[in-house]
Subunit: 167 residues, 2 copies
């Protein structure tokens, strides 16, 4: 959500506003991931982030498609939530010298981002269906599935990381 | 994560820092939920928020227990992520006149909060295990289960809300 919700009166307004919010978020993630790739020390994690960067660029395009399908302008509104999550992610990656600790912090930061997106796409899909826009819901569902898969991969990486550290 | 991660060198530092972050977040949620309860129009949603307020107060106490078990001071560090999420939640609930739209926005805001917590508790549990603190992991797991249950209840509320609106 942005900070100008006075304009929200109908479910359609809410849907478009949330689209604008996640559009801003996805674009910020496209900007943040290269920095996370540069900082990741495990090659598995780096590859995971690289793959997710490609996917995130596609998520931006999918959102543009949904805006178009719904006859709304593709516009981003500032989203303080993703700003906070990404600021934390960039902050934590800044000064940690130990590689295992740095990777653990990066994985946690990325999972906070994924969970934010999972919650937002979940709401968007419910509202698209309510508005009779099953076509939009279907496009958004593709992205939601990819976000969930990324979150699961990050959990596996965190666990294998734990096992390596404990070995 | 707070903004002073220069002090993070070890997995133990990261664990304690994240505990301080979620401790801040839980306390902010205790402050935010009464406003959401006051704004919710459906009685199901209001009751759900009331129950979750009681749980959240318990989550704060559980975190204090984990700090104590781990021999660390119970201290909160500012968490820009939850600040952003809650600012958005309060903002969106401010000016929506239509009851159905307001409830839909409140449910979405609450789910963003839940997903933030789910990601943070997930990381904390993995790190507690890595540090050999299965006792701490077990306490944190109780809270994680409650956050997941709350998220599922909110999804059901969103869906029943959609069905009512469509009827």
């Amino acid at each position: 959500m942005g900070l100008f919700t006075k304009d929200i009166e109908t479910m359609n307004d809410l849907f478009i506003h949330q689209l604008q919010d996640i559009y801003y978020a996805e674009k910020r993630i496209v900007g943040a991931l290269p920095k996370m790739i540069a900082k990741a020390t495990s090659s598995d994690l780096r590859q995971g982030f690289e793959q997710h960067l490609d996917e995130t660029k596609e998520h931006v395009q999918r959102l543009e498609k949904v805006f178009q399908m719904h006859g709304a302008e593709a516009k981003a509104v500032t989203c303080p939530a993703i700003d906070g999550i990404i600021d934390e992610a960039e902050d934590v990656a800044g000064d940690v010298a130990d590689k295992a600790v740095l990777d653990a912090a990066l994985i946690a930061a990325a999972q906070a981002v994924e969970h934010y997106e999972i919650s937002r796409y979940g709401s968007l899909i419910a509202w698209a269906k309510q508005l009779g826009r099953d076509d939009c819901a279907q496009v958004l569902q593709q992205t939601l599935e990819e976000e969930k898969t990324t979150d699961k991969k990050l959990t596996s990486l965190a666990e294998s990381h734990v096992n390596r550290a404990a070995a």
